[in-house]
Symmetry: C2
Subunit: 282 residues, 2 copies
């Protein structure tokens, strides 16, 4: 696989972790970092995530591949002007929502240069210092509306994801946004709300700290996630997230009703139903 | 520390994992397993978790320490008759709720032989085959109403928990049940309800399987937990769990309201509030 000059726009958790993988798998002849945050620029250089920092326009004209690893609202804002400037370059976005992205790009004359993708990897941390080795391995990379991408761009992007250890799925953007509402977005809302519940009611923080079990830590882990990333995701996937959130609240009400009515047979059934997740999550 | 003959009543996840630790730390001269489930008896012997299987009465009269690692409803049921039969033995219960336990034992003439404890450790699996090495290490063991235990029983139990790597906390049973509603019980309800949400709405199980991220797996992990353990916990801690569940539903409604009204400033504030859990959970 030919090494390319690659610009990473947004050298935070996702962009930084991808930079490490691109380096280690020998996919980049040069890695250019682009970031609006000066501290992140500096930190990305210090950590050796990228070789050089450039402004977006300069990076766009001096690289072969432009990877967008910024919040989804920033992707929507920057994408049209990036596509205006590209010629043979490949533009890969890594955003967690896809329908609006497809809508703003579908009529662009350079639409073919864009590969709309979503690697199902992340942690609850953010910024260049959150970048880790071995990220993305053994997880899925979803490519949306792949037929609208040029063959060469699609091919290179798929190979890149494979080389960093991912398996590929193709999906329509509308279906993608619905599925991720279930398997990713609702988990974050649940976790944020659980953290707020405990912080609101349990004023004795020392007690939480001393008693918190591994189970609690696991359920509340995602509550550390960055609002700058998540607010735009919820905005763009508002309708799907609302549907799933309504269902989740009604599922919680069933537990509440069992406890109120002391209907422990039904409570057992609800838990047995939930246990079926074993079939799906190992 | 003097080795003792120890009976483990309930050789499942908790009892089996404790048996492994007692063996490895040289705390037991003999380990007797008691279990109403024949398959578990057999499996516990096969796995070498215990040296011998006995009936409860026989084990009670032939050991120095009786550890109750059974569901909390079974503890309440068996405890009075066990206390009726003990003389100098130490009885340690490991249940996740404490107020009812204290109530059924407080006027017993052998109350002093009981050490009411709750090691804050567990996994979402159950049965002897779920027992693991290194369990309990670096987690808290709570002892409730310690003043009502005889000095020798309390001393030996504390040393046992320390030897298996735990740190000790003492707490009143009423306070215990309130705190664990926040830091353990609500996490399980959230996780059960999240599993049911996804299983209910997302009929394409393949999509969940392919797409499920580490974040989702982490949030839904506890949904695999055993109803035989959890229904009795929720029954015994019903009022506290209902309070926390009501608060949790109202916290989720705030997220819903933000999305419905497209109030993204407030959504950001809610997430920033949740981020404060960082102070508490590393």
């Amino acid at each position: 696989m030919e090494r390319k000059r690659i610009a990473i726009v947004g050298v935070g958790l996702i962009g930084g972790s991808l930079a490490i993988q691109l380096n280690e798998k020998g996919l980049a002849s040069k890695l250019i970092g682009v970031d609006s945050n000066r501290d992140h620029q500096k930190k990305a250089l210090e950590l050796g995530l990228v070789d050089e920092i450039m402004e977006l326009d300069e990076a766009t004209s001096n690289t072969d591949v432009i990877v967008l690893a910024i919040p989804v609202d920033a992707i929507i804002k920057l994408l049209p002007s990036i596509l205006d400037k590209v010629d043979k370059q490949i533009v890969i976005d890594l955003g967690s929502t896809k329908e609006q992205l497809i809508n703003v790009s579908k009529d662009h004359q350079r639409r073919g240069r864009l590969v709309a993708s979503h690697p199902m990897w992340g942690t609850e941390y953010s910024g260049p210092q959150a970048a880790v080795h071995g990220a993305f391995e053994n997880t899925a990379a979803i490519i949306c509306n792949a037929n609208d991408s040029d063959a060469d761009a699609l091919e290179w992007t798929k190979n890149m994801f494979r080389k960093i250890g991912m398996h590929l799925l193709e999906m329509d953007a509308v279906a993608h946004d619905l599925h991720v509402a279930y398997v990713s977005h609702i988990s974050h809302i649940t976790s944020f709300a659980l953290a707020n519940t405990v912080l609101e009611k349990e004023r004795e923080e020392d007690a939480i700290f001393e008693l918190a079990s591994a189970g609690f830590a696991s359920t509340v882990r995602l509550a550390k996630s960055n609002p700058a990333m998540w607010v735009p995701i919820f905005m763009q996937n508002r309708e799907n997230v609302l549907d799933v959130l309504n269902e989740h609240i009604s599922q919680l009400r069933k537990f509440k009703s069992c406890l109120e009515k002391e209907n422990y047979e039904y409570l057992k059934e609800l838990i047995e139903g939930a246990n079926k997740i074993k079939r799906i999550i190992k």
